[in-house]
């Protein structure tokens, strides 16, 4: 493998050692998958959402199978801020990959509470702000769809993180009329990067039982089915802002990842594909290196410039 290939990614003041991360909600807090892949080899680990209070999440069933994808309505099931710090962070700190804490809540105060507290803890590389979770009525959806609200929230949070140097990554929802307006609002509010995309709203009905498969009714659609939507969003958003865009949605292999890089992504995340083949992120990392070596591409950050139009 060519050692001169530069795989590093810059998110604000943070340097990721490589561009391949695992998506929030699909990798827990990094413990469960450690028997199946080398977590330390990842560029970044995005945790399951952390909220101020413990949350049980939604009723079961919380999962449904869909054509080339899945629905989830986990909700923001998580042990809460205190328990996260006490039980999850110690192990996360030992990881050699960047730990990005996904932060969620019902109102700006929730996000502020989590960030202010975590700013006092070592071992966190940055934050991913989930303003786009379609599952919690009071929270995510409403916050993430109005540019003014997004800009204000991002500013409130970036005011509290800039000094510490941890980048604030705002995660965008595709369930909006104009994703670029939200992207620009987050940039204006001081986001260091954007991640793009969260799940689409979807529903599956069990025809025999005559009711939605998910206890909640609807949930978030992810997996290969949504990849074209994610690539289109990254293409648009990366042209609307000048901060880095982290691409995700349906990435299953090196070619899928390359689609995102060519569309304009600076880094990527693998979510649902972990469920199908847990080794996917590291196979992609190897595949990207091979592609770059074969095509004499020196830096991963050169990829977006290679798209012909």
């Amino acid at each position: 493998m060519n050692e001169n290939i530069d795989m590093t990614v810059q998110l604000g003041r943070l340097t990721l050692k490589n561009p391949v991360g695992v998506a929030s909600g699909t990798f827990g807090y990094g413990e469960e998958y450690s028997a199946l892949l080398d977590v330390d080899a990842l560029g970044a680990l995005y945790t399951k959402a952390v909220t101020p209070e413990v949350r049980a999440g939604n009723q079961s069933p919380r999962l449904a199978d869909t054509p080339a994808g899945m629905l989830n309505s986990i909700g923001l099931a998580n042990p809460g801020l205190d328990s996260f710090i006490q039980h999850k962070l110690p192990l996360l700190r030992q990881r050699k990959c960047a730990v990005m804490v996904n932060v969620a809540g019902c109102c700006p105060e929730d996000y502020i509470a989590v960030i202010e507290r975590l700013e006092q803890e070592a071992g966190i590389a940055g934050y991913e702000i989930n303003i786009s979770c379609p599952n919690v009525k009071a929270g995510g959806m409403a916050l993430g769809t109005d540019p003014a609200v997004v800009e204000r929230l991002t500013r409130q949070l970036s005011d509290r993180t800039t000094a510490g140097g941890r980048p604030l990554v705002v995660k965008l929802s595709p369930n909006v009329t104009d994703i670029c307006a939200i992207a620009r609002a987050a940039e204006a509010g001081g986001a260091a990067a954007l991640s793009c995309i969260n799940t689409l709203v979807g529903m599956v009905i069990d025809v025999k039982q005559r009711r939605p498969v998910l206890a909640m009714g609807s949930g978030g659609l992810s997996g290969p089915a949504i990849r074209p939507v994610g690539v289109a969003c990254v293409y648009k958003v990366s042209r609307a802002v000048s901060i880095p865009v982290i691409g995700l949605g349906g990435i299953t292999n090196t070619d899928d990842a390359l689609q995102y890089f060519l569309a304009g992504a600076a880094a990527i995340q693998v979510g649902t594909a972990l469920f199908t083949r847990p080794e996917t992120p590291l196979e992609i990392l190897t595949g990207l290196r091979a592609f770059m070596a074969d095509n004499a591409i020196a830096k991963i950050s050169d990829l977006p410039g290679l798209l012909q139009s």
């Binding site: 199946l36 199978d65 899945m70 469920f275 199908t276």
Partner: protein, 260 residues
Amino acid sequence: MKRFDSTIVSIETVAADYYQLSFHWDAAAGQPAPGAFLTLLAGSGYDPALRRPFAFSAYDPATAIASIIFQKRGRGTAWLAERRIGDPLDVLGPLGSGFTLPPAGVRPVLIAGGIGLGPMKYLAETLYAAAAAGRGEAPLLVLGYRTAAFVPHCSLPEATVICTDDGSQGFQGTVSAYLQQLHDPLPLKYYACGPAPMMRAIDKLAALHSPSWEAATEQWMACGVGACMGCVLPFRDGSSKRCCADGPVFAGQLLDWDRI
């Protein structure tokens, strides 16, 4: 626990829409215990994207061959049912916790309905072998079916009781009816796996005959390893636990069967 590429050793029909599938096990993955499960890719690409979970119905350490018994229900199991000997199989396991063996002097009563057969067959054979070696009591395996036509023709322990709703084979009535009239000099411990209505009935009976019992549960799964929080089951104390990583075997009396 490991994901590996296996090869199918045999696949055969054991009853209408029921199949027994055997394949090479990767010893490096660790030995599967009765009650543990694995997940299979049930298609050739990413449709379906979600792996399908199945309980082990047998594992032979001598040959390193593992087996499952599965029912054809939807698109994933339909795909599996079309596999042939020698075809590749994408396997991830072993996953989840297994059954705990009963204390000495307690009769293990293993109750299965429908797709619950696999894990109970494996547990029964393990308990027989243990009893033969002087460890613990011989188990009693009780299987329930609607009618004789659905009774699987795979090898079953000798002391197996078949219950059919219509009496066309064995005991006439449900497994619960059989258990209600069962007399055994020993104290009993129930182990059960089957459809929710059966499990609810067992739970009621267990309160009388087996205050502590073990249930092999099911829930839709995505990761199968405890990471996604997708497969939680409700407990009587209001808490919830992950079927895949905290189970799939739980103390039956703790689960909130009315909400399952």
